[in-house]
Symmetry: C2
Subunit: 217 residues, 2 copies
């Protein structure tokens, strides 16, 4: 299935930066820690950072039932996940840029009400944040579940955009040798796990955390 089935998810500019493969969309989403969810309230846009998780072609979001934006049964949203990969230094100020990968998903999120799907969604979100964690922690109880709203968003309508590589300078600026030009890499890294102050000393850092820090950090 190709991405971008509608005009709003078809990139108007720099379409050479667009990916059309669904695997690219999944890769960008899976590599992120938090997304930015946009919605309309009282006619004006609102953008909030939040956790998320993906299962197949569904994106799950969650939050407190007390959060105003999670109150309805349906919510038109735009969910964007962005990775910054580098600061691009050019010979001219207008060619300064960033290397990045971003996914933009448009759609109407539906409130998940089925108990089984709600639990699956919460597991998906926690496992996205920290793979392997769900099986080591207490599951949600009835009170916690009642206080939690879960939204699901189909990945039907989405676009992926990225930039990589060195600056794209004008030939004349390269020839004039005006300035240093290149890329300063940017990365999101995980540090060494810090045990909580009330954690008994017999605990060691669990394997699923050790391997992740050493792989991604």
């Amino acid at each position: 299935m190709t991405l971008s089935p509608t005009t709003r998810s078809t990139l108007g500019r720099k379409s050479d930066r667009a990916a059309t493969d669904r695997a690219d969309l999944h890769a960008v989403l899976d590599a992120g820690l938090a997304c930015h969810v946009g919605f309309v309230r009282d006619g004006a846009p609102v953008v909030l950072p939040t956790a998320y998780g993906r299962d197949g072609e569904q994106l799950y979001l969650h939050g407190s039932t007390g959060a105003r934006w999670l109150a309805g049964a349906e919510l038109p949203v735009c969910v964007t996940v962005t990775h910054l990969d580098g600061i691009v230094h050019a010979r001219s100020v207008m060619h300064f840029s960033m290397n990045y990968r971003s996914a933009v998903v448009h759609g109407t999120a539906r409130r998940v009400t089925d108990a089984g799907e709600r639990l699956h969604a919460l597991r998906t979100i926690v496992e996205h944040l920290t793979p392997g964690a769900w099986d080591h922690a207490r599951r949600p109880d009835r009170r916690e579940l009642a206080a939690t709203a879960v939204l699901a968003l189909d990945l039907t309508e989405a676009s992926v955009k990225s930039r990589s590589g060195p600056p794209s300078d004008d030939d004349a600026d390269v020839a004039a040798d005006l300035a240093w030009a290149g890329v300063v890499p940017v990365a999101t890294v995980l540090g060494e796990p810090e045990p909580g102050p009330d954690l008994p000393e017999h605990h060691t850092v669990p394997d699923h955390l050790v391997s992740r820090v050493h792989r991604e950090g």
Copy 2:
């Protein structure tokens, strides 16, 4: 001046996570590389990552005049900058969380038309991305300026929210010693500058880049 002069920027939930000092807002904005700008198109929300810069109580955005979202003289927006600081591992899945700092700015961005302010805005954006760069690169020419749209947004209406520290587990879960609990730090780091493939060998990495990588990286 306090933040949050309107109901939409007054936090409804977890107001203990809200900062009310304008210096906190500036600090979160100044520490970011990219923002997520939200706007409404055809009644639906759109969220895009983009560069920005701050000068006093003004936030500047820019883009190609060919970008659809930059076409009007005024645009109601929400600009959000988020820093992820840690993945919070709790004894129960519903207390998993993230440590973060985020700033959310609401308002109507105005198209900047004055030539002097436009140049100042572009300088502010480039210097935000990479301090010290503006003076080393070619300034925009008439053609480049004509192809560039600049927006300004007052920082009047904004909120700042953050979480830090260890997990907030239920007492019973702590007593039951259910799982490892603590924080995996998350950081955005800058790597060693990578010269472009067509950069003459006589260039060394400029001082403003060396000092930044070693300070932030």
